[in-house]
Symmetry: C2
Subunit: 257 residues, 2 copies
């Protein structure tokens, strides 16, 4: 099987022109099949504020009421996604921006309102890996916005890490998948204030221990859970690192044993 | 050759939930290969106003400065396009939302700033009809937003009528094209206040005469010019009519002789 590299980048990187340009330069240089999954939360919050719409968060996750759904549809599906696509085209990468609704690539259902009503948030049911593989084999580089749909006409806001993980899992029949979660730090750190303390390798047992010890906490917990689920489902490697390290030589590698 | 129906719908129809639902019901019933091109100007103006960005128009055309480019990228490429895609998926139509940047389907250049500086507005250079045909033949229904790109990383605002006309022309090697421009009225009217006076047929000579007589004026002039160019380039039929008449039985038919 051929290799497919899936890069997930968070909002901060794709929302500032300089860091976006650097990321896209690095991404363009990745050899072989590839795919980008992006966030955009900071821009969504900024545009919402400008529109007089209040951003409500619970446990670091956005509450998506119908007004906020319009904002994230504009920002994730339009502003962020199309700017990435145009800028990849300028680098001779044949990018195609997608939400889960496009070609029905990611179907989801609206999350139950209990215990917390997150609003128009979708939990992924099905990724059409075959359709994505067909595009990728024809030279297309999918650029995925963190939006899905329920096939009943509703777009739904879906966490970008989740999209990356679910897409990676769905592509395992077609490619050897290397999945990379990029964030602000060099990897999962033993000491969160010291970039030189990257933990090079975490497996399921390590994860449990590091959570118990309080070294892994907050938003890093679901990120690593996603990663562990992905490797369990056959994704060859998952790496957590800085966006400037997407050549894959550094960061924290997640494996299931 | 098989038939391809290309429907262009203006902002008003796609921006109100009831008329959009009706349009998508009608569109879903069109047999065979099809494609939708949409506008979104009214929503762009509304969102711009909410963001405190002034909308400037010259001769009925929007001036697209960098702030307005962000607005139209959000509204055309995100809000309007992805809502149409999700609502077509709910009708079992395998829609794919596209700007010209996606898969490089429409390349353009920024219009010269003289005599009027329209800002980030793109005039179409090239449509990749082969790529669109490949998608359509695989069962996809493209939904085109009125945005193009210059392959240098800039998205550009491009009139939706122009997109429809240029795409129709580029698809003539692959299909028998039927192009329909939908707007508020039943067709080109002899008396603009009387919906029963639809002119059933206009050719190039008729057009010249009707413009001279003042019967065709304003925004209808470029629309019919687009239509005449399309039939000259081999588009089989162009019809101008109401969105509620996309079964093709009524309206004004444009031919080159």
């Amino acid at each position: 099987m051929e290799k497919l590299t899936i890069i997930k980048v968070g909002g901060k990187i794709v929302e500032e022109p300089d860091s976006l340009a650097q990321l896209l330069n690095d991404f363009a240089r990745i050899p072989g099949h590839k795919m980008l999954v992006h966030g955009g939360g900071r821009s969504a919050t900024r545009i919402a504020t400008q529109l007089g719409i209040e951003t409500k968060m619970v446990d670091g996750r956005r509450i998506t009421d119908s007004e906020m759904l319009n904002v994230v549809t504009m920002v994730y599906g339009g502003l962020v996604n199309k700017n990435i696509v145009a800028n990849l085209q300028a680098r001779n990468i044949n990018a195609l921006g997608l939400t889960g609704a496009d070609m029905n690539v990611i179907e989801s259902h609206k999350r139950q309102p209990n215990p917390i009503d997150f609003g128009y948030v979708g939990d992924v049911d099905k990724v059409d890996g075959g359709r994505l593989a067909q595009l990728i084999d024809s030279g297309i580089v999918p650029v995925m916005a963190p939006l899905t749909h329920n096939r009943q006409g509703n777009l739904l806001n879906t966490n970008a890490d989740t999209i990356a993980g679910e897409v990676a899992k769905a592509m395992t029949p077609y490619y050897n998948i290397s999945l990379m979660f990029c964030f602000e730090k060099a990897g999962v750190l033993q000491d969160e204030n010291d970039e030189s303390t990257v933990i090079p390798h975490i497996n399921a047992a390590d994860f449990k221990r590091l959570v118990d010890e309080g070294i892994i906490q907050g938003g890093m917990i679901p990120k690593i859970q996603n990663a562990l689920e992905a490797v369990d489902a056959g994704v060859k490697e998952v790496i957590i690192t800085k966006a400037t390290a997407i050549d894959g030589s550094r960061g924290t590698k997640i494996t299931n044993n």
